[in-house]
């Protein structure tokens, strides 16, 4: 049992990190009142940007390359999310459809550019983050081997973002305004809060974080960008967001749950006790679990009230 936990938990943390940061991105967007179903596409473009940056910089930045790649990934996500903000906020488009367009656009343009720039639809990177043991902390009994051994540093960056976000949302005036825009934009507007600007900020942050999530996927466990990068992680993040009730600490819990579920289905081949379980059960587990959870929480799930509605000054 202990052996299994020491192999599952560090891996689960690895899978949780990008999921968590993408879900956190979704949180900013939805809290500002814009549904963001385009997380998958934003994640994908971040992954692409990180991969292409790493390959094309050819080691010019040395050890900083991998960190810079993450920054590039986040900026790429932010750039693409601008169009979602433009459509959803300024043009009052249907936010779900706009998000769908973002997903389709991302999946196509990245492969297009990969072929154009590298001649191939797959980009493999040579430099990436490597698993390390955190000095001192990894020597602590029990939590040392579980949380601080064979981990990627990016995982802690993600946790740091969660903490910052909690503070930002609940303890600062920015957070108060952002949440007001998602709950009742008319109220915010009448109080002199610029709803349009807050929603742009919400969506852009979501693009930044989702792009970063894509970058983390490539720069940690995946190491290859291809069509398969679009494997539904962004949609799972959306489920984690709903599951976590649109709260930073909530999505931490739900992302960990999904992270563990994914880990179990991925390592089932090498774990003797799981080898005999038909793979259909393990593979579909995260999705079926999401559906069951959605049904169970259906009555109590309370998202931001105004999420999904374009803000129309004339309407009351």
């Amino acid at each position: 049992m202990w052996d299994m936990m020491t192999s599952v938990i560090p891996l689960a943390l690895t899978y949780t990190a990008p999921l968590l940061i993408i879900a956190l991105g979704g949180l900013y967007s939805e809290r500002s009142g814009v549904v963001n179903i385009g997380l998958e596409g934003l994640m994908g473009i971040g992954a692409f940007a990180a991969a292409i940056f790493t390959v094309s910089s050819q080691g010019a930045f040395g050890g900083a390359t991998i960190w810079l790649a993450l920054v590039v990934a986040a900026l790429a996500g932010m750039l693409l999310s601008f169009f979602h903000a433009l459509a959803s906020v300024s043009l009052k488009a249907d936010q779900v459809i706009s998000g769908t367009a973002i997903n389709m656009f991302s999946a196509a343009i990245t492969i297009y550019m990969a072929r154009w720039l590298t001649g191939s639809a797959n980009i493999q990177i040579r430099r990436s983050f490597i698993r390390t043991n955190i000095p001192v902390l990894s020597d602590i009994p029990i939590i040392g081997p579980l949380l601080f051994t064979r981990v990627y540093l990016t995982t802690y960056v993600v946790f740091l973002f969660i903490l910052i976000s909690w503070f930002l949302l609940y303890k600062t005036k920015f957070g108060l305004r952002l949440r007001a825009c998602g709950e009742n934009p008319h109220s915010a507007d009448s109080m002199g809060v610029n709803v349009t600007m807050m929603r742009y900020i919400g969506v852009l942050i979501s693009g930044f974080l989702a792009g970063l999530g894509g970058g983390i996927v490539i720069m940690t466990y995946s190491k290859e960008f291809s069509q398969l990068t679009y494997n539904g992680l962004g949609f799972l993040a959306l489920a984690a967001l709903i599951f976590g009730k649109w709260k930073p600490i909530g999505i931490l819990g739900s992302s960990l749950f999904f992270g563990i579920a994914m880990t179990i289905s991925n390592i089932s081949v090498i774990v003797p006790s799981l080898r005999d379980v038909p793979n259909i059960f393990l593979n579909t587990f995260p999705y079926v679990a999401t559906l069951i959870a959605l049904v169970l929480f259906s009555n109590s799930s309370v998202g931001p009230k105004a999420a999904g509605e374009p803000y129309d000054v004339g309407k009351r």
Binding site: A87, A108, R115, N279, S298, K315
Partner: protein
């Protein structure tokens, strides 16, 4: 606020222009992208049209019709959902399950064609409907948003096929099924001969028939009246004694059935077997088809033709000009974006017509002086 609505109502004729403008803008953005990446966009578009057989090559035209067939059906699937107020983003999964069922029947049974083929097609229809029923039930009974559920159902479909194909209908490799028996195939000799050997097949007629059926249901029946009422105003539908829950489930089932039929035409008419681990993107393209077609059956057929020829011609374009064929998907995404952001186009059109009015007024003034 009723007074503010009037200018929009006045523009309903303009609304019909929006799809055309979206398409033009989509191609314009595509050209821009090619320009930036150093390709000759004129040559690429010419090759795209040529590859689709629009310059008279009958065999390639058959390819366009072939590509158009499942798009009509997935487009109808999405459009039907939209008319009832549901966004079915799971047409891909429903199509995959339908196709899986059809292929399984096509391999496992040995029957005369008159029974075998209809059986396979109906199996696809039923599996698609069942796959659509789940989000319908979760939406109506538990108020879970259908977008999230259909996305989950897509992945569940992928893994279901991943599990069952190697187990029961394995082909030469673990990654794909055996080939269906010819008695379950939608291909016919006369049609292939007509198009000079193109794999265009009977699925096209299924698709056209489905479009007519959808039009008939929506426009001519009380069932369609109920469905549209639910889509436009759920509360008013409830007030009128319409069973909203039941209609949502029915609507998702019909939507799923249409996607399932798309699976039948694709796997029984084109690939003849099924691969594992792949979600057919045609389901997502159906969203573009439906939006561009303004969720009407005729519009869906027309936009399916547009996307059909783009899909048919893209391989030829890539081979002849080196432009990566994903360009076509990029253009589709841009078209969806503009169809969603109708306000942008409307503003442009208003701006243009105002300018026109102004110049006209100026002309009249000039005339009076």
């Amino acid at each position: 606020m009723a007074k503010l609505k009037s200018p929009i109502a006045k523009n309903s004729r303009q609304d019909k222009l929006i799809p055309f403008l979206s398409v033009i803008l989509g191609f314009a953005v595509g050209a821009l992208i090619m320009l930036v990446s150093g390709f000759n966009s004129f040559a690429a578009y010419t090759r795209l049209l040529e590859g689709a057989g629009l310059f008279g090559n009958v065999r390639r035209l058959g390819g366009t019709l072939l590509n158009m067939t499942p798009l009509i059906l997935t487009g109808l699937s999405v459009a039907f959902g939209m008319r009832t107020g549901l966004f079915n983003i799971g047409a891909s999964g429903q199509m995959l399950m339908g196709g899986f069922g059809a292929v399984a029947v096509g391999i496992l049974f040995e029957l005369p064609k008159v029974i075998h083929l209809p059986l396979a097609v109906v199996t696809a229809l039923i599996l698609g409907a069942l796959w659509g029923m789940v989000p319908g039930i979760l939406k109506s009974k538990f108020n879970v948003h259908e977008v999230v559920v259909t996305i989950m159902m897509n992945w569940i479909a992928v893994w279901t096929v991943y599990y069952f194909v190697p187990l029961y209908i394995r082909g030469a490799f673990d990654t794909e099924s055996a080939t269906i028996r010819s008695t379950a195939s939608l291909r016919t000799e006369w049609l292939s001969d007509l198009f000079n050997g193109s794999p265009v097949n009977l699925g096209l007629f299924i698709a056209i028939a489905a479009a007519i059926a959808v039009w008939w249901i929506l426009e001519k029946t009380t069932f369609g009246y109920e469905l549209k009422a639910v889509g436009l105003n759920k509360d008013a539908a409830k007030y009128a004694g319409i069973h909203v829950d039941r209609n949502i489930i029915f609507s998702m089932m019909i939507s799923g059935a249409l996607a399932g039929l798309a699976g039948a035409t694709f796997y029984l008419g084109f690939t003849n077997n099924i691969k594992i681990g792949e979600l057919p993107m045609l389901g997502f393209d159906g969203i573009a088809v439906a939006l561009l077609g303004m969720n009407t059956p005729l519009g869906v057929v027309l936009s399916a033709f547009l996307f059909g020829f783009m899909n048919a011609g893209k391989g030829f374009m890539q081979a002849a000009t080196g432009v990566p064929n994903e360009l076509v998907q990029v253009i589709m995404a841009v078209i969806i974006f503009f169809s969603a952001a109708t306000m942008l186009i409307r503003r442009w059109m208003n701006h243009l017509s105002k300018r026109k009015e102004k110049t006209q007024k100026n002309l009249e003034k000039g005339g009076a002086q």
